[in-house]
């Protein structure tokens, strides 16, 4: 065998060709009695949540009734579940929270100190001092 192959899986590039929303499920939990769930209860009552769900068609919303403070859990496709407290929030604030977290990828937050993250080889390559004529080379 002249050349052997090393098995590698290809690398996903979500956003090239097709884009799949990473957040696939949102579970909202509310309490029918507690005051901290007022905002969420109102959202459910007025049907504003239905409207949001019909805007975000790719996300599966499920609503649970459970005692305690209300929470919103976001299930992402990298197997992480992020739970956000939505106790005592106004309806509009809850909607903003849902909107924000449903646009995330589920990865840990991180600060990127550069502008562009690339997995491609550099187009121009790396400068080499040895590729100039000998008379022009840098001398120490």
């Amino acid at each position: 065998m002249p050349v052997k192959a090393i098995a590698k899986t290809s690398i996903a590039r979500n956003g090239i060709g097709a884009y799949i929303v990473p957040c696939h499920r949102i579970s909202l939990q509310y309490c029918n009695w507690g005051g901290s769930s007022t905002g969420l209860r109102e959202l459910l009552k007025t049907g504003r949540l239905d409207k949001l769900a019909s805007e975000k068609k790719g996300i599966f919303f499920d609503i649970n009734k459970k005692n305690g403070h209300p929470t919103a859990s976001f299930h992402y496709n990298n197997d992480t579940i992020k739970t956000v407290e939505i106790a005592n929030l106004k309806p509009s604030e809850i909607l903003a929270k849902i909107d924000e977290h449903s646009q995330r990828s589920g990865n840990d937050l991180f600060k990127f100190n550069h502008k562009v993250l690339s997995i491609n080889d550099s187009v121009r390559g790396i400068w080499s001092p040895l590729h100039t004529p000998k008379s022009h080379r840098h001398k120490i």
Binding site: G15, I16, P22, R104, F112, V116, N120, V123
Partner: protein
């Protein structure tokens, strides 16, 4: 006013931006055939585009991290980046600081994530006040994925 991109998605209106975005650039399309041949079918091609006058050098498949929340876009939107100043292959570079005419290239990016940077606190000390003021900071971050880059 945002200079540098326009939305491609039909349901979202970006017409004003596209008008603003490309008011200056209406010159003749340059002949980039030599450049194109040297890019190995646009595989070895980079572009420098400007967004809010900030240059970003990208190749196809790169992720651009913007340290702010791009206005009026949602995750999954496709943006046409229409302020490109440089196109380059391993051998050649074409540069026009006024912006290369849009018909000469195709550069689109999709918005793949709108998130935040990690939480941190900024302290401010005022004169003649013994207390430090604490400001919680969790700035927005928008991630674009360059999904098409080629010379026409």
């Amino acid at each position: 006013m945002i200079r540098g991109f326009m939305g491609l998605n039909a349901q979202r209106s970006f017409s004003s931006m596209s008008r603003l975005g490309n008011a200056a650039v209406r010159s003749a399309v340059p002949d980039l055939h030599t450049l194109k041949i040297s890019t190995n079918g646009s595989n070895h091609l980079y572009a420098i585009f400007k967004l809010h006058n900030m240059p970003y050098m990208v190749t196809k498949g790169d992720r651009v991290y913007l340290p702010f929340k791009l206005k009026n876009v949602q995750v999954g939107d496709k943006l046409k980046l229409n302020d490109v100043t440089t196109l380059g292959s391993p051998e050649f570079t074409y540069n026009d600081n006024k912006g290369i005419p849009q018909d000469a290239y195709e550069l689109t990016a999709s918005v793949v994530e709108i998130t935040r940077e990690p939480y941190y606190e900024v302290y401010r000390k005022k004169q003649r006040c013994r207390r430090l003021k604490t400001f919680p900071v969790e700035p927005f971050q928008t991630v674009l994925m360059v999904d098409e880059l080629k010379v026409n």
